[in-house]
């Protein structure tokens, strides 16, 4: 199912089967190169596959952008322990809605990516951890898995290669934190979804303390194309060190919000104006959150930027999970900061003091300021509290709450000041409540 019209500027690699009739079915998949990459991978052998992956410059699509080839290389293939493949389909970052489409429209592409991963690290079991709200996606996945078993693409001795692989879906229960890889593993093991102390990382001690490949849906979904067409071809689509395309989820005040597959390094302003049809209602652009709600906001004048991991890092923001949130001139930045903090406060797992207490304090503080109850000293306090969290929490959720907050007060300080001492929100008559 498609939610938006494709754009002619798209480069369709992962989404090439989107819109084909019955695109979820194995037959459609097979008719368009399906499971060829797996056969090819078996012929190449694990080492070569890993090499191709490294050449492809594929970087993790879950948010952190860690090179996928390198990550798979950390898995001790010869460990006597069982190894696992785990797909992170928890898709929790606000502004992000791409994994869902990849699973809905092309589940076999994901399964093939998992198969290849299993082959590379010698794993024979894979889990897809799907966010609880994606019930219907799990049904699609389960149908695809059943079909793959029936036709010999999963199970014992797959396609006569002698390789065995089983796949199970597992549902989350409505926690953003369970998208954090170690909390996900805890949850998958049936425990409370709180993060683990790291190191060790999942590659070495993951599911049931066994070596585990854990990647985002989009990362796995990119693997078949890389193996089929070669790592170099994939790399060439993007910019140096940022290989391939990625699914950008453009939301907010644009005329044509949607998910678009664009080459890495695509210019953000072009993305807004040419792909997403420009700012809604002819309004002026005020700010963009470039990669999901945890990424520091960019002011309009910062948006002439190449959308790749490194350029955004240089601009002190992040490419994150590809959720581009566009905000026009009528948007209240205090309210935006509050809305984001409400999310992280609600999702804080409560394990560590700075995140648990810091997000709650900030939520209350931001709500008070937005309602006009703030005084001059509250503005620097917001930034200071966020900085007191930054880099000091147990897992990156605390940072995810702190980073955007710091950016909002630093870049839009005058908007915060305009809310103080009983002043009503300049952008609306009705205040939001915390």
């Amino acid at each position: 199912m498609l939610y938006n019209e494709p754009s002619p500027l798209e480069v369709k690699v992962l989404t090439r089967r989107f819109g084909l009739p019955n695109s979820q079915s194995l037959d459609t998949y097979l008719a368009s190169d399906g499971y060829k990459a797996f056969r090819k991978a078996v012929e190449m052998g694990p080492e070569k596959v890993l090499e191709e992956l490294k050449v492809s410059n594929l970087r993790g699509r879950g948010g952190a952008g860690f090179p996928t080839g390198m990550k798979w290389g950390f898995v001790p293939r010869n460990s006597p322990k069982p190894k696992y493949v785990v797909v992170n389909a928890d898709e929790g970052e606000p502004g992000t809605c791409k994994d869902r489409l990849l699973m809905e429209n092309d589940p076999h592409q994901l399964l093939e990516g998992m198969l290849i991963a299993g082959f590379v690290v010698d794993a024979h079991v894979g889990y897809i951890y799907v966010r609880g709200e994606y019930r219907y996606v799990i049904e699609i996945l389960d149908r695809a898995i059943a079909e793959a078993y029936e036709r010999g693409y999963l199970g014992k001795n797959i396609l006569g290669t002698g390789f065995d692989f089983d796949v199970y879906t597992h549902t989350g229960a409505g926690s953003y934190e369970c998208g954090e890889e170690s909390a996900l593993l805890e949850s998958l093991e049936g425990k409370r979804g709180v993060p683990r102390i790291r190191p060790p990382f999942p590659a070495v001690a993951g599911l049931y303390q066994c070596p585990t490949v854990l990647n985002n849906v989009e990362s796995f979904s990119a693997v078949p194309a890389i193996i089929r067409d070669g790592g170099a071809a994939f790399a060439a689509l993007g910019t140096p060190k940022n290989g391939g395309t990625r699914l950008f989820c453009i939301s907010g005040h644009v005329n044509k919000p949607g998910v678009y597959e664009l080459p890495m390094g695509f210019n953000l302003l072009r993305m807004i104006n040419e792909v997403a049809g420009g700012v809604r209602g002819g309004k002026k652009l005020k700010a963009v959150i470039p990669g999901g709600s945890s990424c520091p906001v960019l002011k309009a004048e910062e948006c002439d930027i190449s959308m790749d991991f490194d350029s955004l890092a240089k601009a002190k923001s992040m490419l994150g999970s590809g959720g581009v949130i566009v905000m026009d001139e009528d948007t209240c930045m205090v309210k935006a900061a509050l809305r984001i903090m409400r999310f992280y406060q609600h999702e804080s797992c409560g394990w560590c003091i700075p995140c648990r207490e810091g997000t709650l304090w900030l939520r209350k503080l931001l709500a008070r300021v937005h309602e006009g109850g703030g005084t001059q000293s509250d503005v620097p306090l917001i930034g200071e509290l966020a900085k007191n969290m930054l880099g000091r929490t147990f897992c990156p959720l605390g940072d995810a709450a702190a980073m955007p907050t710091i950016a909002f007060v630093e870049k839009f300080r005058e908007e915060f000041e305009a809310h103080l001492n009983g002043a009503p929100c300049p952008f609306e008559s009705k205040p939001v409540s915390a």
């Binding site: 409370r192 003091i353 207490e357 000091r392």
Partner: protein, 679 residues
């Protein structure tokens, strides 16, 4: 493990590789603050108090999870670190009620201390605080969520330390709460470990809460009188009352461990039915009399019976001190001229001492590579020994073997479990031969299922393994072991306890701190003298009842199940009572016995004589005086003593013989009645 060198605050520090930075710093005298880090428990990295600067690290690192490495350069005294600590405390105080003035923990609270040292003087938090009402999880454990800093110590000590796992976390974020295993209440050991390990006043105990303040009490370290494990308990005393028991200073063999009895069951001493005046039987029941009159009555009858060559029986206690036991048997033998002396034998210590094999200490249970538990439900009957073995398993991966009739908690950590029918214990042990022979060393613990001949066969089995083996003979109550070693046993020709009860021709029966009528009928009508705390079944039948002081009201020494001798310290007084030792002395004097030969009835004088005359008891007094534990040396096996069958008192976590019936806390917990609770 090889040592590495690192620098902390400019000081060169050496520590074994893999030591956690927080430990290496502590050992070098540099304190890194911590709430969630707790030695011996799983790492949490949750409180973020221990953040320090580590050269080349991009951000502050948690010292509680970071292993030291060669050349590491650490700074704990920089403005950035100080600011981080201050900010963590500011965060943790946001939803904290700041009710220190009425909090049990005030004055000994880690949060108070931490804020005092590292925190800010004022708060910048202007928002509304979260509130959750206090909950009563059990008569023992209360939870006050607003005070909780979510360090998860309680959760870990319960799961890891106790093997119970009754506590967990519910909700998330700032709404997270610690929750008990039965939803709104606890079903657990009720040991209170969680309460004492709580750094703040979030967990409070039913016995202590809102009663007094830490600095208003005297803190007296003595030995728990309930089971034989010999835990040090530090009693908090105010106005002649025990307000709490704990062992936060980790002195004694038990470190911080105490079960419900050591922590809360000292309350028997204040029970309203406590005997406070001597009683003498008259036509119309008991008549309260003065001590002088009571002593005169007893001494008069004893002297008269002695003079006409009458027959005495003496039943000693497994709660009284070594000094009292020694003095009693000496008084019986030399003063009353009787050899009819015994006590309730709860385990076959005598046969084990006669086997002349090495005996394990409580520390051995924590260090031995392998442990075999035969015929006993250790978690129920010897909570501390079970704790030691569990800690050994967690920290040193000890292999644990159980040979038992039904499921026991130790099964959960067992390398092998052998199920047996009653009487099949030795055969069960035999099936483990091949596994045990492969162990580098072994400690064998056995209960009353192994006695007499079977003890010899068990030790022969141990010797045949070809590895070093040590033994523990499990007995009940604080001084069963001492009663044996002090000679509260008949020599050849003397009567055993069951024989005395059945004799029918005793002229006098003197029962000290024991309740034999609970298990045996008394034949005949001897002049019955009972020294006890309560009007027990036996006391009710007495002619004279002498109100005795409890173990918490006297000094002296006791010998625990592992033969470790420790000192009791008098914690308070219950007016009207006297120690058993003093009562013995007064009776002896009144009888006109040879006091020179008997010796003075002060604990130190009696102990000096014990050291001279009892094999293995020539122990360093200064260590005992300082509160240390010393295992008694090899015994001569008491060659004269008469062997008799033994029977465990069969107590559980929530019973303690007759004494336990007078502990309100033991009887208040819901786990007590009915089917045996098991975690």
């Amino acid at each position: 493990m090889a040592n590495v060198k690192l620098t902390i605050d400019g000081k060169t520090v050496e520590a074994p590789a893999n030591t956690l930075l927080i430990e290496a710093a502590r050992r070098a005298g540099i304190e890194i603050p911590a709430f969630c880090y707790y030695e011996g428990l799983a790492l949490q990295a949750a409180c973020r108090m221990c953040l320090v600067e580590v050269e080349k690290a991009p951000k502050l690192m948690t010292a509680c999870t970071l292993p030291v490495a060669e050349g590491m350069v650490v700074r704990t005294n920089t403005p950035q670190v100080a600011q981080a600590r201050k900010s963590m405390l500011e965060f943790v105080l946001t939803n904290h009620p700041l009710d220190c003035p009425v909090c049990d923990k005030g004055g000994e609270c880690e949060l108070q201390d931490m804020v005092f040292r590292y925190g800010a003087g004022e708060s910048r938090f202007l928002e509304v605080k979260q509130h959750v009402d206090e909950r009563e999880w059990s008569p023992v454990v209360f939870y006050d969520r607003p005070r909780c800093i979510l360090c998860f110590r309680c959760v870990r000590i319960c799961a890891e330390g106790m093997g119970v796992a009754a506590l967990g976390v519910v909700n998330r974020g700032a709404s997270s709460e610690i929750a008990p295993n039965r939803g709104d209440h606890l079903e657990c050991d009720e040991c209170g470990m969680c309460i004492d390990i709580c750094p703040v006043g979030a967990l409070t105990s039913g016995t202590y809460r809102y009663r007094t303040r830490p600095w208003e009490m005297q803190h007296v370290g003595t030995i728990c009188t309930h089971c034989a494990d010999g835990c040090k308990t530090t009693l908090g005393i105010r106005n002649n009352r025990i307000h709490r028991g704990n062992n936060r200073d980790r002195s004694g063999v038990n470190g911080e461990f105490l079960c419900i009895k050591g922590r809360y069951a000292g309350d028997f001493a204040h029970h309203e039915e406590r005997l406070l005046t001597p009683l003498v039987r008259s036509q119309d029941g008991f008549k309260p009399v003065s001590w002088a009159e009571a002593i005169k009555t007893v001494a008069g009858r004893f002297a008269e019976i002695r003079q006409r060559g009458g027959k005495f029986g003496v039943i000693g206690s497994n709660h009284t001190t070594n000094e009292e036991n020694y003095y009693l048997q000496k008084l019986a033998r030399t003063g009353l001229g009787t050899n009819n002396i015994d006590h309730h034998r709860t385990g076959d210590v005598l046969s084990l001492l006669r086997a002349r094999v090495p005996l394990a200490t409580t520390a051995d249970l924590y260090h031995s590579k392998a442990v075999l538990i035969v015929g006993v439900d250790l978690a129920q009957q010897h909570s501390f020994l079970a704790y030691q073995i569990r800690a050994n398993w967690r920290h040193h991966q000890a292999r644990v073997y159980t040979v038992r009739r039904g499921p026991v908690r130790e099964d959960k950590i067992a390398a092998r479990i052998v199920s047996v029918e009653p009487g099949g214990e030795l055969a069960g042990v035999e099936t483990l031969r091949d596994d045990l022979a492969k162990e580098p060393e072994l400690v064998i613990l056995f209960g009353d299922a192994i006695q007499g001949e079977a003890v010899a066969r068990l030790t022969e089995f141990g010797s045949s393994l070809g590895i070093p083996v040590k033994y523990v003979c499990l007995v009940d109550y604080s001084n069963s072991r001492g009663a044996v070693e002090m000679g509260v046993l008949p020599a050849e020709g003397g009567m055993t306890l069951p024989e005395m009860m059945a004799a029918g021709d005793l002229d006098a029966l003197w029962v000290v701190g024991a309740n034999p009528l609970r298990r045996h009928a008394l034949a005949g009508k001897p002049f019955l003298v009972v020294q006890d705390l309560f009007l027990t079944e036996t006391a009710q039948a007495a002619d004279v009842v002498l109100p005795a002081a409890s173990a918490y009201e006297k000094s002296g020494t006791v010998t625990n199940v592992c033969g470790e001798v420790q000192r009791l310290q008098k914690a308070f007084e219950t007016p009207g009572t006297k120690t058993d030792l003093e009562i013995f002395g007064l009776i002896a004097r009144e009888m006109g016995l040879d006091l020179k030969q008997l010796g003075p009835w002060t604990p130190s004088a009696v102990f000096a004589e014990i050291a001279r005359t009892v094999p293995g008891y020539d122990l360093p007094v200064e260590v005992l005086e300082a509160g240390g534990a010393v295992q008694a040396g090899p015994s001569d096996g008491l060659p004269d003593a008469v062997w008799a069958p033994v029977q465990s008192a069969g107590d559980t976590l929530f019973t303690s013989g007759t004494l336990g019936r007078y502990s309100k806390m033991l009887n208040a917990v819901r786990e007590a009645p009915g089917e045996l609770y098991r975690a």
